[in-house]
């Protein structure tokens, strides 16, 4: 047996020994068909899924190559059933093809007659198909291209989409990259370039990069390659403004070319930035703004924070299969488990890198994660023990004792940019009062928010208390310490996003600190464990401290 870096398990996971000399080589080889699932410090684990195998087929890899890769890098014999399964799964791809027929338009064609028969007899597929042309070809309603692809995927007969993309309205966009070693200029980072190239080569898909790794630039690079009118979908207005600023700074686009389509403004320009909220607004059972999506001849649609994509957008996206789609996210974990739909509608994962790798390259700041355990005082423990299940988490998460610990920690990091993040407004208000810092919460106006963020950014304000409104897409460049006092139960992606607040590289190369204050022996601790597992799987180790040691360490 060879002494390779991979261990292929019979449950379709692949373990990769990171410190092995062939690890990088093997990682690149298997990334083509396996999904990175966990990336703790020593052993990364990948999963082989049908979707991943089909994507590999789409990228031109065949079963023989996949098997060879596994056999070459595997340390132990590879379970034979798995090899057989891979071969079988990959052979299913491409038996059905979506093609453009000069006479009939979009058609579904097969070289394997029984397969077409099988899918045509599926109840849900029937209404999406038009008249049958011959034994191996049938017309597809062009509006149903996405829905059909999604269904076929579910049936296990993924269609190879050869129908191509519409070009959209051309609109020149270029990056303002400086070519030389101009210190004032900027350049795309290598991984950003690779991500954009991978995306373009694949036509559409999702790019996964950690917070602070410059996802916006991947979007800008894609727009520059496309040079067409572009629709960008973002989570909220603040984020929309940040996208706009970044685009104006990094590309040749001028303020007049970039429009904002939000609750306040309804501009449609060659590059339009819209929020999910305004698109999913319902009036009288209709979505009046959804038309924006397909009413214009966009050449590219960018979905920011694609893991938050709301259900109505899913449905609309299904109709947009002829347009190039780019999804951007830090974590493709959805608590509702609908990652599969993201892949099938937006497109497969085109780029993914372990956070620690990018950190090692110096593009995101290193971070120390510390969990501080506080003991609840006796009376709170009794109250907790006797509380209803519904109130338990609130009771332990919002404990009085946490405030004291937060104060201690704040004192230790005096002089650094500090964020306190929490779930419960009462608790946040109290903390704000103790730390004499302003609070940003749901009812804070956009203007006020921007003012406070501005001050924080400039360093005039050093401590800021924020609720979950700050979870996504706000640039807080110099936050170097965050203290999380409570979270929304066990949400893993929230944890990732909060850590992401700290990961933009610091001017002095300092490591960021992420504290989580947890009440011992309560639900809080359980939820914290669940959230942390995700970060640990991304390679971020937690140190656990007792509250009494927190001040000293």
């Amino acid at each position: 047996m060879s002494n390779g870096p991979l261990i292929v398990q019979s449950d379709k996971t692949i373990l990769l020994e990171v410190d092995h000399e062939q690890a990088t080589e093997a990682r690149h080889a298997i990334a083509a068909f396996a999904e990175l699932e966990r990336a703790p410090e020593h052993m990364h684990s990948y999963r082989i899924t049908p979707l991943g195998l089909w994507n590999a087929r789409a990228a031109g890899l065949d079963a023989e190559q996949v098997l060879d890769t596994l056999l070459r890098y595997s340390r132990f014999p590879v379970p034979h059933a798995l090899l057989v399964d891979i071969e079988e799964t990959m052979s299913r791809y491409g038996r059905l093809r979506l093609e453009k027929d000069p006479q009939h338009g979009l058609v579904l064609r097969t070289s394997d007659y029984p397969v077409l028969e099988e899918v045509m007899h599926a109840k849900k597929v029937k209404p999406l198909l038009g008249p049958r042309i011959d034994a191996e070809t049938t017309v597809v309603h062009s509006a149903q291209r996405g829905a059909l692809k999604q269904l076929l995927l579910k049936l296990g007969w993924p269609a190879e989409d050869l129908a191509g993309y519409v070009d959209g309205t051309p609109h020149p966009i270029a990056l303002t990259e400086s070519s030389g070693k101009d210190p004032a200029g900027w350049q795309l980072r290598p991984y950003q370039k690779v991500a954009a190239e991978n995306f373009w080569a694949g036509g559409s898909g999702v790019v996964v990069l950690p917070c602070g790794a410059g996802k916006t630039l991947v979007g800008a690079a894609a727009m520059a390659t496309s040079s067409t009118t572009t629709l960008i979908l973002v989570t909220n207005t603040v984020s929309a403004r940040q996208w706009k600023d970044e685009l104006l700074r990094r590309t040749t686009l001028t303020a007049g070319e970039v429009g904002e389509y939000s609750g306040a403004l309804k501009e449609v320009r060659p590059v339009t930035i819209a929020t999910y909220q305004v698109l999913t607004m319902r009036r009288g059972g209709l979505y009046p703004h959804l038309e924006l999506l397909n009413g214009h001849d966009w050449g590219l649609i960018i979905y920011d924070e694609v893991h938050l994509l709301p259900a109505p957008i899913f449905r609309m996206t299904a109709d947009l299969q002829a347009r190039r789609r780019l999804g951007l996210t830090a974590t493709l974990v959805r608590e509702d488990g609908r990652e599969g739909e993201v892949f099938s509608l937006i497109g497969p994962k085109r780029y993914d890198a372990p956070w620690k790798d990018i950190e090692a390259q110096g593009y995101i700041a290193p971070a120390d994660c510390v969990e501080v355990r506080v003991d609840l005082p006796r009376d709170e423990r009794v109250a907790y023990a006797m509380a209803d299940d519904a109130d338990k988490y609130r009771l332990c998460a919002a404990s009085e004792t946490k405030s004291a610990v937060v104060e201690q920690l704040a004192a230790r990091h005096a002089g650094e940019q500090l964020l306190v993040i929490g779930q419960y407004i009462d608790q946040l208000d109290e903390l704000a009062a103790r730390l004499q810092a302003p609070v940003i919460k749901g009812d804070t106006s956009v203007r006020e928010r921007q003012r406070l963020f501005g001050e924080f950014r400039s360093g005039a304000l050093q401590t800021l208390v924020v609720s979950k409104v700050a979870n996504f897409s706000i640039d807080l460049p110099e936050a170097s310490v965050a203290i999380q006092v409570s979270g929304s139960f066990g949400s893993r992606q929230e944890e990732a996003q909060r850590l992401g607040r700290l990961l933009r590289p610091k001017a002095d190369g300092r490591a960021a600190r992420f504290y989580t204050v947890v009440a011992r022996d309560t639900l809080d601790q359980d939820y914290a464990a669940k959230r942390q597992r995700f970060l640990a799987e991304q390679g971020y180790a937690y140190t656990i401290l007792d509250a009494k040691d927190a001040g000293k360490a």
Binding site: L71, F76, I544
Partner: protein
Amino acid sequence: MSSIRALAGELAARTDRQLRALLGARPDLCHPPVPDFPALAARACTRISLQRALENLSRPRLDVLEAVVLSADADAGTAADAAVLAPLLRPAPDAAQAVGTAGLEELEEHLAGLHALALLVRAPQGSGAARSAAYLPVANLEEVLGPYPAGLGRPYHVLAAANPDTAARLAAATEALHQAGYPVAPAAGGADAAAELERWLADGRTWPALLAEAPEATAGLLQRFRHSPVGAVPRAGRMPRIGGRDATPVDWLLARGLLVPLDAAHVELPRSVGLAARQGAVADPWLTAPPLPAAPKAVRHAIRDNAALSAVAETLRLLAQLLAQVRLAPVATLRAGGVGVREARRLAEALRTDTDDVGWLLELAAGAGLIRLDVDTSRWAAGPEADAFEAQPRHLQWQLLVTAWLALDRAPALVGEELPAGGSINPLAAGASRPDAPAVRRRLLAALAQLQEAAGTGLPEGTSAAPSAAETAAFLTWHQPRLQRRFDRLVPGILAEAARLGLTGSGALTDLGAAVAAGRAEEAAAVLERELPAPLTHFVLQADLTAVAPGYLEPEVARELALLSDAEGHGPAAVYRFSAASIRRALDSGRDGAGILAFLGRHAATEVPQPLRYLVEDTAARHGTVRAGAAGSYLRSDDEPALEQLLADPRTAVLGLRQLAPTVLVSTAGTRELLQTLRGLGYAAAPELPEGAGAAAGAGASGAALSGTALSAGAGAGTGPAPPSFAVRMNPWELTEEDLDRQLARLRSSAAPGTAAGPAGAGADGTQPDGTEAGPLLGLETLRTAIRLKRPVRIGIVDPGGDERREVLLPLSVGGGRVRVYDPERETERVVPIHRVMDVELVEGN
């Protein structure tokens, strides 16, 4: 002359080498040893021994034997030689022989082989053809071959004799044929009609002419009688007219008496019609070469070895997990025997696999003696063999499993199969018992090796042939056609099992499998030792509270790690996840925080991550804030000095008193005993609650369990693992040289007078049965001959009083341990139990 006597004579005349060959090929003949040649001949003619012998005949040889049985008739004095048989056996057109008939030399060779096996006896000189050796089948062979040798029906005269309706029908058929203008004479009786029909069909011109006027589909219909001459036909009893319009093939055949109704729903194709339909050949085609896969699937060696080695590792890993589970909780059986679905599901969940795997693993573990059925509890528990097994290196574990599997008289693959009565066969239930499985397994491995060799040259370099289950079964069936059903049923399952043991990989025989097939399991184990990676003693600890063992862990380390954490994942590398609950479990079973950390530090390839260290320390520090224990009863008093005094009193030692708190003592004794003892000692104690008894029982049980584990641990540490001894059943049908020598010596010495007298001499004093064993058989053979020839016999019968009488009787039928006779003097029929028959002889010239 009786064929048994003839055979006895022949056997006695054989050389030692020939006898050795015979006994080697039919070892059941000297199990137990036979005293003399007549006994040997008699045993060779018993049904069961003949059946065994027939099972080992290949397709062409069995065809030859069937042809001999069809063409020779001992009573009529016709024997069969190669020339007679040649037209009956038609080689496949593409075979090398001359088209049409079998080669004479080849036939001679087959005949000589059958003769060597004592399935044929030479016909007496003078009868039959004199040019070459002519043969007759031995006694009972016809019965053992069944009523339809070579798939041909019974002759007309047998059909006519068996059923008066048929006889009448045949007579009617000759009449009708005569009237329709066929050259058939109308016959009055069934026997005459049968003879007439056979004469008519024996004419070479009859059949082509008949077929020419038959309805189109007739040939197709006849083709369906190829394998069995009996068919189901609605209203089989009808008698259509010759020349009726729109006659179906069945009508057409029925009208001419070419198809004979047996009852209202079944018909039989008589032998002469069947032969005619096959153009006179008994075997068409006569397959002289085994069927080989036309285009064998080629498997690359890399793929094959990968599959085999991963299967070996997987089987051993799962088996180790199964044994761990069985140790935790012995596997319960159903009242009807076997392990129930619920129990199998429980194990499957624990092993993270499916119930099929569990069934196979249970069967394998039981077959290797690793788990044993405890008859007291009806549960399968892991015995000391399991410990010894686990202490072995993996290649020896594998060797033990393979050896046990080869000898396993059960077919694990049948587990889960539906039973006709509903339900399915459970693991370890009687339903999967197959005493023939070891033989089939050996044959199968040998066949795989042969197929491999046969395909060897045609395949690309670095590949092996992977025959399918059907192809393998066909190959086996050619070698032993009588076992076809057995092969069809068992081969797919055994192939799957062989794959799980790495004997085949991706369908192709591996080097391991080839060595095992050649009986060199040790060699295979040595190969495996080189291939399997050495066990690891280290694992990787990660901050997400997991430990990953990058390969096969030393069992001891693995066991400890499994105690500290919960295993997850499925494959060569085990992933263990630590949690507060798992650490607590370890603490409960006597580990302490420092010990756990020391273990982790010792075996971790990397530093112990801080969160894990914290988890262990934190859990250990807070472990035991609430403690539980067992006690028989308690004593409670606010008078602390009184309790102190009790504790100090040496006379209370029997009570096993222990102080839990200043005001509470517990005793290992029950409440009643405690009260009585205390009162006896002069202390006044009042009972508080009546529920002491239950707790006492619980305490007793847990105490016993604790001492049990302590004992076994001590034994293991003291003596070290004992080498496993596995009771693997030897193949009883394999004879050693000594067995043969002893048997031959015995035969030669005891049979000396017999050989001196010659075969004729043995038959001369027919009243005296030869040997104890040959007697009844000879008698039976004589009875059967008498029934066939309708001749009276002189029978010595012992009456219930123990006196022997001699009577001349006409036997009518024999079967079921009784013989039905007609007594001509009293003109009555009687039934005589065969065990009362002392001897039988034909009444000559009567």
